[in-house]
Symmetry: C2
Subunit: 178 residues, 2 copies
Protein backbone atom coordinates (compact mmCIF):
# COMPACT_ATOMS: atom_id res chain seq x y z
CA UNK A 1 0.00 0.00 0.00
CA UNK A 2 1.26 3.49 -0.79
CA UNK A 3 -0.40 6.88 -0.53
CA UNK A 4 -1.49 7.06 -4.20
CA UNK A 5 -3.23 3.67 -3.91
CA UNK A 6 -4.75 4.55 -0.55
CA UNK A 7 -6.19 7.83 -1.84
CA UNK A 8 -7.49 6.10 -4.99
CA UNK A 9 -9.32 3.52 -2.86
CA UNK A 10 -10.76 6.28 -0.67
CA UNK A 11 -12.33 8.38 -3.42
CA UNK A 12 -16.09 8.53 -3.42
CA UNK A 13 -18.98 9.10 -1.09
CA UNK A 14 -19.07 7.33 2.27
CA UNK A 15 -21.83 6.95 4.84
CA UNK A 16 -20.18 7.08 8.24
CA UNK A 17 -21.23 5.86 11.70
CA UNK A 18 -18.92 7.22 14.36
CA UNK A 19 -18.86 6.46 18.07
CA UNK A 20 -16.75 8.64 20.33
CA UNK A 21 -15.80 7.52 23.82
CA UNK A 22 -15.08 10.44 26.13
CA UNK A 23 -13.02 8.38 28.50
CA UNK A 24 -12.95 10.46 31.67
CA UNK A 25 -16.74 10.69 31.73
CA UNK A 26 -17.48 7.24 30.24
CA UNK A 27 -19.67 9.15 27.82
CA UNK A 28 -20.75 7.87 24.40
CA UNK A 29 -21.33 10.19 21.46
CA UNK A 30 -22.92 8.99 18.22
CA UNK A 31 -22.37 10.76 14.92
CA UNK A 32 -23.80 9.86 11.53
CA UNK A 33 -22.44 11.66 8.52
CA UNK A 34 -21.75 11.59 4.82
CA UNK A 35 -18.17 12.09 3.69
CA UNK A 36 -17.16 12.98 0.14
CA UNK A 37 -13.60 12.52 -1.04
CA UNK A 38 -12.65 13.90 -4.45
CA UNK A 39 -9.29 14.06 -6.22
CA UNK A 40 -7.54 17.35 -6.89
CA UNK A 41 -4.94 18.16 -9.52
CA UNK A 42 -1.47 18.78 -8.13
CA UNK A 43 -1.58 22.03 -10.10
CA UNK A 44 -4.80 23.15 -8.36
CA UNK A 45 -4.23 26.60 -6.89
CA UNK A 46 -5.41 25.50 -3.41
CA UNK A 47 -2.82 22.69 -3.44
CA UNK A 48 -0.02 24.96 -4.62
CA UNK A 49 -0.92 27.58 -1.99
CA UNK A 50 -1.02 25.07 0.87
CA UNK A 51 2.41 23.72 -0.13
CA UNK A 52 3.85 27.22 -0.31
CA UNK A 53 2.40 28.10 3.10
CA UNK A 54 4.51 25.23 4.47
CA UNK A 55 7.60 26.07 2.37
CA UNK A 56 7.24 22.85 0.41
CA UNK A 57 7.85 22.48 -3.31
CA UNK A 58 4.38 21.79 -4.83
CA UNK A 59 6.06 19.32 -7.19
CA UNK A 60 6.46 16.97 -4.20
CA UNK A 61 2.68 16.66 -3.73
CA UNK A 62 1.13 13.28 -4.62
CA UNK A 63 -2.60 12.51 -4.89
CA UNK A 64 -4.05 15.59 -3.18
CA UNK A 65 -7.74 15.42 -2.43
CA UNK A 66 -10.67 17.45 -1.14
CA UNK A 67 -12.88 16.18 1.63
CA UNK A 68 -16.23 17.47 2.79
CA UNK A 69 -18.59 16.12 5.41
CA UNK A 70 -22.06 16.74 6.72
CA UNK A 71 -23.68 14.99 9.65
CA UNK A 72 -25.37 14.98 13.00
CA UNK A 73 -24.31 14.20 16.55
CA UNK A 74 -26.60 12.98 19.29
CA UNK A 75 -24.96 15.61 21.53
CA UNK A 76 -26.70 18.38 19.67
CA UNK A 77 -29.33 17.08 17.31
CA UNK A 78 -30.40 20.51 16.16
CA UNK A 79 -27.03 21.40 14.74
CA UNK A 80 -25.57 20.02 11.54
CA UNK A 81 -21.88 19.25 11.63
CA UNK A 82 -20.36 20.21 8.34
CA UNK A 83 -17.05 21.20 6.92
CA UNK A 84 -14.55 20.75 4.17
CA UNK A 85 -10.81 20.74 3.81
CA UNK A 86 -8.09 19.85 1.36
CA UNK A 87 -5.40 17.30 2.11
CA UNK A 88 -2.04 17.17 0.38
CA UNK A 89 0.26 14.14 0.84
CA UNK A 90 3.99 14.83 0.59
CA UNK A 91 5.63 11.38 0.37
CA UNK A 92 9.12 11.03 1.82
CA UNK A 93 11.30 10.46 -1.26
CA UNK A 94 13.65 8.25 0.74
CA UNK A 95 11.18 6.15 2.76
CA UNK A 96 8.50 4.25 0.89
CA UNK A 97 5.13 4.38 2.61
CA UNK A 98 6.01 7.36 4.80
CA UNK A 99 5.47 11.07 4.47
CA UNK A 100 3.71 14.19 5.63
CA UNK A 101 0.07 15.12 5.16
CA UNK A 102 -0.76 18.82 4.88
CA UNK A 103 -4.28 19.76 5.88
CA UNK A 104 -5.92 23.04 5.02
CA UNK A 105 -8.14 22.90 8.04
CA UNK A 106 -8.22 20.37 10.88
CA UNK A 107 -11.18 18.37 12.14
CA UNK A 108 -11.04 19.66 15.65
CA UNK A 109 -9.29 22.94 15.18
CA UNK A 110 -9.62 25.54 12.49
CA UNK A 111 -5.90 25.99 11.95
CA UNK A 112 -3.84 24.27 9.26
CA UNK A 113 -2.07 21.12 10.41
CA UNK A 114 0.78 18.91 9.29
CA UNK A 115 0.72 15.24 10.19
CA UNK A 116 3.20 12.41 9.69
CA UNK A 117 1.85 9.25 8.06
CA UNK A 118 3.05 5.74 7.48
CA UNK A 119 1.56 2.41 6.45
CA UNK A 120 1.64 -0.68 8.65
CA UNK A 121 2.48 -4.08 7.20
CA UNK A 122 -1.25 -4.93 7.15
CA UNK A 123 -1.93 -1.96 4.85
CA UNK A 124 -3.45 0.31 7.48
CA UNK A 125 -2.73 4.03 7.21
CA UNK A 126 -1.51 5.72 10.40
CA UNK A 127 -1.47 9.50 10.80
CA UNK A 128 -0.08 11.39 13.76
CA UNK A 129 -0.84 15.10 13.95
CA UNK A 130 0.55 17.32 16.70
CA UNK A 131 -1.54 20.30 17.73
CA UNK A 132 -0.67 23.03 20.18
CA UNK A 133 -2.20 21.36 23.23
CA UNK A 134 -2.99 17.85 21.98
CA UNK A 135 -2.05 15.23 19.44
CA UNK A 136 -4.31 13.22 17.17
CA UNK A 137 -3.54 9.67 16.11
CA UNK A 138 -5.64 8.18 13.39
CA UNK A 139 -5.64 4.71 11.87
CA UNK A 140 -7.65 3.91 8.75
CA UNK A 141 -7.97 0.53 7.05
CA UNK A 142 -10.13 -1.21 4.48
CA UNK A 143 -12.10 -4.35 5.41
CA UNK A 144 -13.46 -4.60 1.86
CA UNK A 145 -13.20 -2.14 -1.08
CA UNK A 146 -16.48 -0.59 0.08
CA UNK A 147 -16.02 -0.67 3.84
CA UNK A 148 -13.36 1.11 5.80
CA UNK A 149 -12.74 1.66 9.48
CA UNK A 150 -11.10 4.48 11.33
CA UNK A 151 -9.87 4.67 14.92
CA UNK A 152 -9.01 8.18 16.14
CA UNK A 153 -7.38 9.01 19.44
CA UNK A 154 -7.05 12.48 20.90
CA UNK A 155 -4.00 12.44 23.15
CA UNK A 156 -2.61 14.94 25.58
CA UNK A 157 0.26 16.86 24.03
CA UNK A 158 2.76 14.82 26.06
CA UNK A 159 1.40 11.75 24.24
CA UNK A 160 0.90 9.99 27.58
CA UNK A 161 -2.84 10.09 28.00
CA UNK A 162 -5.84 9.54 25.74
CA UNK A 163 -8.83 11.80 26.33
CA UNK A 164 -11.13 10.67 23.52
CA UNK A 165 -11.18 7.51 21.42
CA UNK A 166 -13.48 7.21 18.46
CA UNK A 167 -14.35 4.54 15.94
CA UNK A 168 -15.92 5.03 12.53
CA UNK A 169 -17.46 2.52 10.14
CA UNK A 170 -17.57 4.00 6.65
CA UNK A 171 -19.59 2.37 3.87
CA UNK A 172 -19.23 3.53 0.30
CA UNK A 173 -22.52 4.77 -1.11
CA UNK A 174 -21.39 6.19 -4.45
CA UNK A 175 -18.07 5.55 -6.08
CA UNK A 176 -17.18 8.52 -8.23
CA UNK A 177 -14.05 6.99 -9.61
CA UNK A 178 -14.03 3.29 -10.53
CA UNK B 1 5.12 -9.00 22.08
CA UNK B 2 4.29 -12.63 22.71
CA UNK B 3 1.26 -14.30 24.25
CA UNK B 4 2.72 -14.61 27.76
CA UNK B 5 3.52 -10.89 27.84
CA UNK B 6 0.16 -9.97 26.34
CA UNK B 7 -1.76 -12.00 28.92
CA UNK B 8 0.38 -10.59 31.73
CA UNK B 9 -0.43 -7.02 30.61
CA UNK B 10 -4.13 -7.90 30.39
CA UNK B 11 -4.58 -9.25 33.91
CA UNK B 12 -6.78 -7.21 36.19
CA UNK B 13 -10.12 -5.49 36.22
CA UNK B 14 -11.15 -3.29 33.30
CA UNK B 15 -14.02 -0.86 32.87
CA UNK B 16 -15.18 -1.16 29.29
CA UNK B 17 -17.14 1.15 26.99
CA UNK B 18 -18.21 -0.65 23.84
CA UNK B 19 -19.94 0.72 20.78
CA UNK B 20 -21.37 -1.71 18.26
CA UNK B 21 -22.26 -0.60 14.74
CA UNK B 22 -24.92 -2.83 13.17
CA UNK B 23 -23.98 -1.85 9.66
CA UNK B 24 -27.05 -2.85 7.62
CA UNK B 25 -29.33 -0.84 9.90
CA UNK B 26 -26.87 1.99 10.73
CA UNK B 27 -27.75 1.20 14.32
CA UNK B 28 -25.60 2.07 17.31
CA UNK B 29 -25.50 -0.06 20.44
CA UNK B 30 -23.79 1.09 23.64
CA UNK B 31 -22.52 -1.34 26.24
CA UNK B 32 -20.78 -0.56 29.52
CA UNK B 33 -19.25 -3.42 31.42
CA UNK B 34 -16.64 -4.57 33.85
CA UNK B 35 -14.22 -7.25 32.69
CA UNK B 36 -12.06 -9.32 35.03
CA UNK B 37 -9.09 -11.26 33.73
CA UNK B 38 -7.31 -13.64 36.10
CA UNK B 39 -4.47 -16.08 35.51
CA UNK B 40 -4.96 -19.83 35.72
CA UNK B 41 -2.42 -22.52 36.37
CA UNK B 42 -1.66 -24.71 33.37
CA UNK B 43 -2.41 -27.62 35.66
CA UNK B 44 -5.90 -26.29 36.51
CA UNK B 45 -8.45 -29.01 35.79
CA UNK B 46 -10.54 -26.71 33.57
CA UNK B 47 -7.45 -25.99 31.42
CA UNK B 48 -6.49 -29.64 31.16
CA UNK B 49 -10.06 -30.62 30.24
CA UNK B 50 -10.40 -27.97 27.54
CA UNK B 51 -7.09 -29.08 25.97
CA UNK B 52 -8.19 -32.70 26.03
CA UNK B 53 -11.55 -31.82 24.46
CA UNK B 54 -9.52 -30.47 21.51
CA UNK B 55 -7.02 -33.38 21.47
CA UNK B 56 -4.22 -31.05 22.49
CA UNK B 57 -1.44 -31.93 24.92
CA UNK B 58 -2.07 -29.72 28.01
CA UNK B 59 1.70 -29.25 28.29
CA UNK B 60 1.50 -26.98 25.22
CA UNK B 61 -0.74 -24.47 27.05
CA UNK B 62 0.87 -21.12 27.90
CA UNK B 63 -0.62 -18.42 30.18
CA UNK B 64 -4.21 -19.64 30.38
CA UNK B 65 -6.65 -17.23 31.97
CA UNK B 66 -10.22 -16.86 33.16
CA UNK B 67 -12.38 -13.97 32.06
CA UNK B 68 -15.70 -12.81 33.44
CA UNK B 69 -17.81 -9.82 32.52
CA UNK B 70 -20.89 -8.02 33.69
CA UNK B 71 -22.55 -5.10 32.01
CA UNK B 72 -25.49 -3.37 30.43
CA UNK B 73 -26.57 -2.60 26.88
CA UNK B 74 -28.79 0.29 25.86
CA UNK B 75 -30.72 -2.21 23.73
CA UNK B 76 -32.15 -3.82 26.81
CA UNK B 77 -31.50 -1.80 29.92
CA UNK B 78 -33.38 -4.16 32.19
CA UNK B 79 -31.15 -7.10 31.47
CA UNK B 80 -27.63 -7.56 32.77
CA UNK B 81 -25.15 -9.04 30.34
CA UNK B 82 -22.90 -11.39 32.20
CA UNK B 83 -20.77 -14.40 31.56
CA UNK B 84 -17.46 -16.06 32.08
CA UNK B 85 -15.13 -18.28 30.15
CA UNK B 86 -11.64 -19.67 30.21
CA UNK B 87 -9.10 -19.04 27.48
CA UNK B 88 -6.12 -21.24 26.80
CA UNK B 89 -3.37 -20.09 24.40
CA UNK B 90 -1.53 -22.83 22.52
CA UNK B 91 1.51 -21.11 20.95
CA UNK B 92 2.80 -22.52 17.68
CA UNK B 93 6.20 -24.00 18.63
CA UNK B 94 7.58 -23.17 15.20
CA UNK B 95 6.22 -19.65 14.65
CA UNK B 96 6.93 -17.03 17.26
CA UNK B 97 3.91 -14.81 18.00
CA UNK B 98 1.40 -17.19 16.43
CA UNK B 99 -0.82 -19.90 17.80
CA UNK B 100 -4.30 -21.06 18.68
CA UNK B 101 -6.61 -19.81 21.40
CA UNK B 102 -9.04 -22.29 22.91
CA UNK B 103 -12.14 -20.80 24.43
CA UNK B 104 -14.44 -22.63 26.80
CA UNK B 105 -17.40 -20.53 25.79
CA UNK B 106 -17.68 -17.85 23.10
CA UNK B 107 -18.99 -14.31 23.43
CA UNK B 108 -21.72 -14.67 20.89
CA UNK B 109 -22.31 -18.39 20.98
CA UNK B 110 -22.39 -20.82 23.83
CA UNK B 111 -20.25 -23.44 22.13
CA UNK B 112 -16.50 -23.86 22.57
CA UNK B 113 -14.40 -22.14 19.93
CA UNK B 114 -10.86 -22.29 18.62
CA UNK B 115 -9.31 -19.16 17.16
CA UNK B 116 -6.00 -18.48 15.42
CA UNK B 117 -3.98 -15.58 16.80
CA UNK B 118 -0.93 -13.62 15.76
CA UNK B 119 0.76 -10.37 16.71
CA UNK B 120 1.28 -7.50 14.28
CA UNK B 121 4.57 -5.63 14.16
CA UNK B 122 2.99 -2.81 16.22
CA UNK B 123 2.27 -5.28 19.06
CA UNK B 124 -1.46 -5.63 18.44
CA UNK B 125 -3.03 -9.02 19.04
CA UNK B 126 -5.22 -10.35 16.21
CA UNK B 127 -7.61 -13.27 16.73
CA UNK B 128 -9.69 -14.91 14.02
CA UNK B 129 -12.36 -17.35 15.14
CA UNK B 130 -14.50 -19.30 12.68
CA UNK B 131 -18.01 -20.22 13.79
CA UNK B 132 -20.55 -22.33 11.98
CA UNK B 133 -22.26 -19.48 10.16
CA UNK B 134 -19.94 -16.53 10.81
CA UNK B 135 -16.39 -15.56 11.65
CA UNK B 136 -15.15 -13.17 14.30
CA UNK B 137 -12.04 -11.05 13.88
CA UNK B 138 -10.73 -9.25 16.91
CA UNK B 139 -7.82 -6.87 17.31
CA UNK B 140 -6.64 -5.75 20.75
CA UNK B 141 -3.87 -3.29 21.50
CA UNK B 142 -2.56 -1.22 24.39
CA UNK B 143 -2.41 2.58 24.15
CA UNK B 144 -0.90 2.78 27.66
CA UNK B 145 -0.42 0.05 30.29
CA UNK B 146 -3.84 0.96 31.71
CA UNK B 147 -5.79 1.59 28.51
CA UNK B 148 -6.48 -0.92 25.81
CA UNK B 149 -8.64 -0.90 22.72
CA UNK B 150 -10.44 -3.67 20.93
CA UNK B 151 -11.99 -3.73 17.47
CA UNK B 152 -14.26 -6.72 16.80
CA UNK B 153 -15.78 -7.59 13.45
CA UNK B 154 -18.47 -10.19 12.89
CA UNK B 155 -18.08 -11.42 9.33
CA UNK B 156 -20.19 -13.67 7.16
CA UNK B 157 -18.76 -17.18 7.07
CA UNK B 158 -17.39 -16.56 3.55
CA UNK B 159 -15.33 -13.76 5.12
CA UNK B 160 -16.56 -11.34 2.43
CA UNK B 161 -18.97 -9.19 4.38
CA UNK B 162 -18.97 -7.51 7.78
CA UNK B 163 -22.31 -7.43 9.60
CA UNK B 164 -21.28 -5.83 12.89
CA UNK B 165 -18.24 -3.79 13.86
CA UNK B 166 -17.60 -2.88 17.44
CA UNK B 167 -15.05 -0.83 19.32
CA UNK B 168 -14.17 -1.06 23.00
CA UNK B 169 -12.18 1.28 25.20
CA UNK B 170 -11.00 -0.59 28.29
CA UNK B 171 -9.55 1.25 31.28
CA UNK B 172 -7.87 -0.65 34.09
CA UNK B 173 -9.55 -0.06 37.42
CA UNK B 174 -7.71 -2.57 39.59
CA UNK B 175 -4.50 -4.31 38.71
CA UNK B 176 -4.35 -7.64 40.47
CA UNK B 177 -0.86 -8.46 39.32
CA UNK B 178 1.73 -5.67 39.16
Amino acid sequence: MDIAEFVRLSLGCWRSQRSAHHLAFRHFEEVTSTINIEPLETTDSSVVELCKAHDIDPQLANSPFAMRWEGESDWDEDETIEGSTILVPIPDPEKRGKGRLLRGQGYAETIPAVGEYHFNEDGSFVLITPYERAAAEEKIWFATPNLRFRVSLIKTSSGQGVTTASFSSEIRSVNTEN
